[in-house]
Subunit: 101 residues, 2 copies
Amino acid sequence: MNAIFDALSHPIRREVLELLKRGGMTAGELADHFPVSKPTMSGHFAKLKSAGLILGENRGGTIIYTLNLSVLEEAVMGFMNRVRAGQSASTRTCPPKGETA
Amino acid sequence: MNAIFDALSHPIRREVLELLKRGGMTAGELADHFPVSKPTMSGHFAKLKSAGLILGENRGGTIIYTLNLSVLEEAVMGFMNRVRAGQSASTRTCPPKGETA
DNA sequence: TAGCTATTTAGCTAATACGCTAAACAACAA
DNA sequence: TTGTTGTTTAGCGTATTAGCTAAATAGCTA
């Protein structure tokens, strides 16, 4: 939980997650999207990875990072549900089961 | 966006939001739930307030904080939708409109 | 082997964040 | 006015974070 929200607190790291939504990208490709050095980006990747939000696959010299969406979903939606618990239907994200949207 | 995710990065601040889900509480009531000093809690309230996540109403000497859920919803769900965009139906949070859950 | 590309690690600086105590401020009661 | 309660502000110490450059590591190609 903590590591995940910590990881989400930096705008570059949130944007990395967005870039990965369509599939894997190499560390270099990702780094090229941001105006900071590659070592700095490597630190951001490390934080995202240790939070479990991305996975790194080593493909001979280059590393392909992919989004681990389920971990993000579970942490963020779990928190939102805890904050919303007991709220009225008007603020629910989804309709109750068995009802039409 | 940034201020909101920054505010969410500290576990005490997330828990404050959860405590406020059922209604307003005074700064002192909130502070009593945590093992840190009141000045420290005051700093956490200030951060939550400047992010727009809570509102403080001054009722003669004591301050009542309330959750501003819509700001939290908009930021967090907005981000989740950006990260999910283009994902398959199996990972969607809600069923498409007009379908039964 | 050497050389090239991709990425991380090491080491540093500067800025930010979090905690504390003591003091200040505001509202109310005696 | 004095005291009491509730809360924030001021000031400080320490830890963490984010950025940099330079160097190290890993894998490929020739």
